[in-house]
């Protein structure tokens, strides 16, 4: 279990370092950085590399935003495998929904509970 924690620390940290390099080195805005990472996660899943990374690093690979692109692609591919080309469209949110639905739900709840202050990053 400890090795799991250590690997998730290292892999998760490294993905964030890549994000920092994109932000500082290539002067991208946070939105550009995150979009780039999501796209790369999606491509990595397309060539079948992201799932092994999840097997290896657990939360170190599922918590960074790259996993969002991965699960979108994964849902689309799983449906495409069953239903052909139409599945590419219909399967996309099959897997991912938890992140988005949680963000919407807690966004509204948070707006109810908390008062406006400097919260943006």
């Amino acid at each position: 279990m400890i090795t799991s924690l250590i690997t998730s620390f290292i892999v998760g940290g490294l993905i964030c370092v890549i994000g920092q390099i994109l932000m500082d080195g290539f002067k991208l805005t946070p939105a550009h950085t995150l979009s780039t990472l999501v796209v790369s996660g999606s491509i990595l899943d397309g060539i079948g590399l992201y799932e092994p990374l999840i097997d290896f690093a657990g939360a170190g690979a599922t918590i960074p935003i790259t996993s969002f692109g991965n699960s979108l692609t994964h849902g689309a591919l799983a449906e495409a495998e069953k239903h052909g080309l139409i599945g590419v469209l219909t399967g996309m949110f099959e897997v991912t929904s938890s992140g988005i639905s949680a963000a919407i739900l807690f966004g509204v709840i948070g707006a109810f509970i908390f008062q406006k202050r400097n919260t943006t990053y």
Binding site: F9, C16, D24, M92
Partner: protein, 151 residues
């Protein structure tokens, strides 16, 4: 003083962001967030009927919940000032972007304010995620149909 001169002066005045230090900070903060995520994953695997694969979904939801608390209390801003990308790249950063936008625009009403502005910052992630997922899946499906690769 024209714009170019002004830019030069600004360039001199603002301290060069020390890339290496920032990378180290991002590594630490991002790593710690992911380790917390791994602990939550273990919790879900142990006490609920989730496998390693399926536990990722409730873990992400829980992390967004934690992000809500930290965002509302203003702590996440402090974390992100220190951690940079280390706090933006994990899903908590996504949650922070959504939640802070909806808190900020609360005063404009629930439909136009919260509903309309919630994804102001995080929307691009969803848009490009869906776009790239569509094209990647499309290309792979076509390649499989042509017999170039297998699933």
């Amino acid at each position: 003083m024209d714009q170019k001169q002004f830019d030069k002066i600004v360039d001199k005045q603002t301290p060069k962001a020390p890339l290496f230090v920032n990378m180290l900070k991002a590594f630490l903060v991002g790593g710690i967030i992911c380790t917390v995520g791994q602990l939550i994953t273990f919790f879900y695997i142990r006490f609920f009927p989730f496998t390693e694969r399926t536990a990722a979904n409730p873990t992400v939801a829980t992390m967004v919940f934690i992000a809500m608390i930290l965002t509302g209390t203003g702590l996440y801003k402090k974390i992100s000032q220190f951690g940079g990308a280390g706090s933006a790249v994990p899903v908590t950063g996504f949650g922070n972007a959504v939640i802070s936008a909806s808190i900020e625009h609360k005063s404009e009403g629930y439909v136009l304010g919260i509903g309309g502005n919630m994804f102001k910052l995080a929307g691009s992630v969803i848009v490009f995620g869906v776009l790239s997922a569509f094209f990647v899946a499309l290309i792979k499906t076509i390649l499989v149909k042509m017999g170039v690769v297998s699933w």
